[in-house]
């Protein structure tokens, strides 16, 4: 696991090489092996200096999150954390120089090993990522990162790395002082040896172990330090809405730990690390943001036995916002795209959308002009269906109108090969119905993209009644190819994401209709962890569209239609007040030409505030529980089959509070039985929409859970 080699000059090279993994990670076993190797080197009189290296393409990717997610015992974690901190202190204080030879990505605990070395030399590998991303999964750097980085580069420079989980390439890491030297990849070990032999003996005491050490740029109690924390606390509080313990604990590690000696600081860090690791937020974030999204990206639920499809050429029908966006991400991923619209102008405008996005990247120096031209050349605008000949997949993104969709389906299928997939990007129309226009419904599927396509990572794959396993598997291959995350759902009105997202907006409208103060509704949504308040979202979606969809649904369902709790508010806003949303410059908000949007002052006349306002907790509960209970219904109805897909879809699809881990994880954190009991209360008070489905009642009765732990 850790290769140990001692050369004639007395340089020991400790090479990380975990046999059973593609990347080196810090696990119980690898930490034990590394510890043994470090202590051997320190104890061996023949060793003059030590290189920490990796035999893999990358250095060390971080800690094994599965190990962390299992952790439950604070005392045990304190002992383990203390042992790891002691190991790093042994490297620092063993009297022998240590060099980290960072050949590739070094993240989290991997970088923390480097920080405990006396020198960090990185290979000039532009693909390498260097950083401490623990905060992104609800954790903090618990291997000394919160203590060593500020002591190396100062409070102000260190905090963004710690609080934002910023990952940088070696050049930037050098500039910001995370590494000391960047060399050509082939010269890495030689540079490390050279430094150990020449400078190493003089550099065996870390700056923070030297007498009179001062934090670069001023300590915590300097005027600058105080300002950093006073403003930093509020800025973080504003940004996180108080929902994320990890960044808050990171600030405390730095605030408390940098006022004392490093050993005391490391003990403080370990305590805050344990506090994070045991938090529901970390467990939720690790489960959903790391494992469930990871599983989705690996196509864990892909039907077995279907050969992987490679995509060389696809067709996109409709070059509007969605079609152009889909064409762009496909071309960006190396696929030739036939972009078809009814006029040449429209098709060309679709391509221009991609040109603009690529140009922006060139301006930001994230793309070379040559690469831009190459990507853009893959998009072939056309008005001729015949150009679709030979494509592997057609995605239609035309108007949400059954007749138009049926027509383009027939025209495309007349040209494309028998094995090609036809996909619809509809967000509202049931796939099975659309497939009736297809001559091979087994190859007909829904690929629901989100706007803006280039930025939204999710694709909701909708399986129609006749869609084959092979078609689904191949559609998943496409989503993977364009580097997006797929979830798989069955055909149903609104599918999964639109259906559940709609309950959040509708509940906000219902609250308004009951006379709850609009600012309270909006702030409650944000305080619950949603990216936007429900009224602002309604304005974004536009109230006339919501109104239209509602009326269509009523027409489709007839007497089975159950009025939504916000229907009355929507109707009033659209029909009587003509305030249809942001696109009209007036909805629940006014949108002044300059400055921020403001809640419309007339709301208090249309929806007079009730004398007794609900508590913040009550408003948050309604806005959040309604989404989880609707998700449970989707699971019961097999609209969505895998709880992980439901969680991933809720976070990536409409930004459901990431710290909750998604709509299912929220139930899991609360506990199914308690969630059911609370929903029963809510149903009594506010209506049947909160009534828990049988699936949840059965789980509560059986004491079962969606996830272990």
């Amino acid at each position: 696991m850790i290769d140990y080699k001692l050369d004639d000059d007395g340089i020991a090279t400790l090479t990380w090489n975990m046999a059973d993994r593609t990347m080196n990670v810090l696990s119980e076993a690898s930490i034990a092996a590394f510890s043994e190797a470090v202590m051997r080197a320190i104890g061996d009189g023949a060793v003059k200096g030590v290189i920490i290296a990796s035999a893999k393409p990358d250095f060390i990717a971080g800690a094994d999150l599965a190990m962390l997610q299992r952790s439950a015992d604070a005392a045990l974690m304190q002992a383990n954390g203390g042992a790891m901190q002691a190991l790093f202190r042994a490297m620092e204080k063993g009297g022998k120089p240590f060099v980290a030879a960072i050949n590739g990505t070094a993240l989290g605990g991997g970088l923390e090993i480097c920080l405990a070395c006396h020198r960090r030399i990185a290979a000039d590998n532009p693909k390498a990522l260097i950083g401490l991303p623990e905060v992104l999964v609800g954790l903090l750097p618990g291997g000394g990162g919160t203590q060593r980085l500020p002591r190396m580069i100062g409070l102000r420079a260190a905090l963004p790395y710690l609080l934002e989980g910023r990952k940088v390439d070696p050049a930037r890491a050098l500039k910001d002082g995370l590494v000391d030297e960047v060399v050509a990849p082939g010269a890495l070990l030689q540079a490390a040896r050279a430094w150990l032999l020449s400078e190493g003996p003089k550099a065996v005491v870390q700056p923070w172990d030297q007498k009179g050490f001062k934090l670069p740029g001023g300590g915590v109690n300097s005027p600058a330090g105080q300002q950093t924390f006073i403003a930093g606390n509020a800025m973080l509080h504003a940004k996180t809405w108080g929902n994320y313990p990890a960044p808050r604990n990171i600030l405390s590690c730095v605030y408390e730990g940098c006022q004392v000696d490093i050993d005391t600081g490391l003990r403080i860090e370990t305590r805050y690390f344990i506090n994070c690791a045991l938090s529901a937020e970390a467990k939720n974030m690790i489960r959903s943001l790391f494992f469930s999204i990871g599983d989705a990206n690996k196509l864990a639920s892909r039907p077995k036995g279907v050969p992987t499809q490679n995509y060389a050429r696809i067709g996109v029908l409709g070059a509007g916002m969605m079609g152009a966006g889909i064409a762009h991400v496909a071309a960006d991923a190396g696929i030739e795209v036939v972009l078809l619209d009814s006029s040449e102008g429209a098709a060309a405008r679709g391509k221009a959308h991609s040109a603009a996005l690529l140009e922006k990247k060139v301006q930001q120096k994230r793309l070379t002009p040559a690469a831009r031209d190459e990507k853009l050349a893959r998009i072939h605008p056309t008005v001729d269906f015949a150009d679709l000949a030979g494509v592997d997949l057609v995605i239609e993104a035309v108007f949400e109108n059954r007749e138009i969709k049926a027509e383009v389906t027939r025209k495309a299928e007349a040209v494309i090969g028998a094995g090609a997939i036809f996909a619809s990007n509809t967000s509202t129309l049931p796939i099975t119905g659309l497939a009736q226009a297809s001559i091979r419904p087994e190859n007909f599927i829904g690929l629901h993209f989100f706007s803006p396509v280039d930025r939204m990572p999710l694709v909701e794959i909708i399986r129609g009644k006749a869609t084959s396993d092979a078609c689904l598997a191949r559609a998943m291959d496409f989503v993977k190819k364009i580097r997006k995350t797929p979830i798989v759902v069955n055909d149903s009105r609104g599918f999964y994401t639109s259906r559940v997202f709609g309950t959040y907006v509708a509940e906000g409208l219902a609250l308004l209709g009951e006379g709850v103060a609009p600012a309270l509704i909006e702030n409650a949504g944000r305080l619950a962890g949603m990216p936007v308040g429900p009224l602002a979202l309604a304005d974004e979606v536009s109230l006339d569209l919501m109104h239209k969809v509602g009326r269509q649904t009523r027409a489709d369902l007839g007497k089975d239609y159950r009025p939504g709790p916000g229907d009355g508010v929507t109707a009033l806003m659209v029909e009587k007040l003509g305030r249809i949303g942001k696109k009209a410059g007036k909805g629940f908000y006014d949108y002044p030409a300059e400055g921020r949007k403001l809640l419309w002052a007339g709301l208090k006349d249309q929806f007079p505030p009730a004398a007794n306002q609900p508590t913040l907790a009550a408003v948050k509960q309604r806005l959040m529980y309604v989404q989880s209970v609707e998700t449970a219904r989707c699971l019961e109805e097999r609209v969505v089959m895998d709880p992980r897909d439901a969680d991933v879809g809720s976070i990536l699809g409409w930004g459901f509070a990431p710290f909750q881990g998604g709509t299912v994880s929220q139930i899991h954190s609360i506990g199914v039985a308690r969630f059911v009991a609370e929903c029963d209360h809510l149903a009594q008070a506010h209506g049947h929409r909160f009534a828990p489905p049988k699936l949840l009642r059965d789980m509560a009765a059986a004491g079962s859970a969606f996830y272990p732990g």
Partner: protein, 402 residues
């Protein structure tokens, strides 16, 4: 319980709290000594009769550190048997010091004690003593810390005070302060600060801007837009008060208390002490109270502390003839008047800190003296002095002329 009586109240004039201010050259210890010496000299006081000196100070570090009250006692040449203690209840420290001095007397543990306070804001700036509240992440998060200016704007937003409302109040404060100085209403209490040669350094409050008008105030930009917006403090306040859509920033340097230097002292004792010292009591301390209130809006404490003190005294708000409420921010006073139904012509009748400044640790003792002087001048009986306090507190004292 023994009754506690006020025998005298003195204060220094208030110097502008910056390098160009007249008192910037004067150390805080000398400001405190000026007040203590005046109490002794005006009353021919045998200081051996004074058991304790309690001084408020909000930034008790550096030259204001290390128990400035005891050091001032020694440096003022008081009897060495007189103890000294420095207290900090933020902006109400001076009044709290008087209340603590009174409490010693009322409990029978001291015959006489001096309450007062000192603050050289020009020499020991606000924030000098640090503290966990704003800087410690765990504390700042859990208490939804925001600076007072954001709280003041939150008071205005939540209770509907417009920029015009707060500016009008400020103009009136300037007018009243100028009139009071013009008529010599402060002359009984104000003692000049002199140098070692007996030359006067400052004899009069120098922060006032009597020419202030609605127009001149309208030119001032609100002070707390930048911290509110760029440092996230508005968002923090809204998270604590989610019914607020956005904070209406109305406060600025012209309708908030001024940063100044100054000191004050109030001599409090039993009847028996007065007889021994040959002094006549001027007022009786009827009750006092300090309370805690919600810390993010922070500045709504005065009404709660006043209500508590009124209840202890068995009185109604309408029984009080005159009120002094520290003008930390205009909205604080407007809110208090609304809550207790106090008419403006009973409130801060000689202006307040918007016009004359707020030397943090001393102000409470200053306004207690101002209240007593004005009750005497008008021949009225009862007065209530109160201040809003950082971190959500309020302190109030009710006095009654004899």
């Amino acid at each position: 319980m023994t009754d506690a009586y006020i025998y005298d109240a003195v204060r220094t004039p208030r110097g502008r709290g910056k390098a160009s201010g007249s008192l910037h050259e004067v150390t805080p210890i000398r400001l405190a000594v000026t007040a203590l010496a005046a109490v002794r000299e005006r009353n021919g006081l045998d200081t051996a009769l004074v058991d304790d000196v309690v001084l408020g100070c909000v930034e008790p570090v550096g030259e204001q550190g290390a128990d400035i009250a005891r050091v001032a006692v020694l440096h003022a040449g008081y009897a060495e048997t007189t103890a000294g203690v420095q207290v900090n209840r933020f902006c109400a420290s001076g009044l709290e010091a008087c209340n603590m001095a009174a409490a010693q007397v009322m409990s029978g543990q001291s015959q006489a004690a001096i309450g007062g306070g000192v603050e050289s804001m020009s020499r020991v700036p606000m924030g000098s003593s640090g503290g966990a509240w704003a800087a410690d992440p765990q504390v700042a998060f859990d208490t939804y810390f925001v600076p007072q200016g954001i709280s003041a704007d939150l008071v205005a937003t939540k209770y509907g005070f417009s920029r015009d409302d707060v500016d009008s109040y400020a103009v009136e404060s300037q007018k009243r302060a100028a009139a009071a100085w013009g008529q010599g209403y402060f002359s009984r209490s104000v003692v000049p600060v002199r140098d070692m040669n007996g030359l006067t350094i400052l004899a009069r409050d120098e922060y006032m801007r009597p020419e202030t008008s609605m127009q001149s105030l309208a030119a001032l930009e609100p002070s707390f837009i930048v911290p509110g917006d760029q440092f996230g403090f508005d968002a923090v306040a809204q998270q604590r008060y989610p019914e607020v859509e956005r904070i209406n920033h109305v406060h600025h340097a012209g309708n908030s208390s001024g940063i100044v230097d100054g000191a004050a002292a109030v001599l409090i004792g039993t009847r028996e002490f007065g007889r021994q010292a040959g002094l006549t009591p001027r007022a009786r301390i009827r009750s006092f109270a300090s309370i805690g209130s919600e810390p993010t809006i922070m500045l709504t404490g005065p009404s709660f502390s006043a209500e508590k003190a009124l209840k202890t005294a068995g009185m109604q708000a309408s029984d009080i003839d005159l009120y002094e409420l520290n003008e930390a921010f205009a909205a604080v006073v407007l809110r208090f008047m609304d809550v207790l139904g106090v008419p403006h012509d009973k409130m801060n009748v000689n202006g307040g800190a918007i016009a004359m400044g707020h030397p943090l640790g001393a102000t409470g003792a200053m306004i207690l003296g101002t209240l007593l002087d004005e009750l005497e001048r008008r021949g009225l009986a009862t007065g209530l002095a109160t201040l809003c306090v950082g971190a959500g507190m309020g302190t109030a004292t009710i006095i009654e002329r004899l």
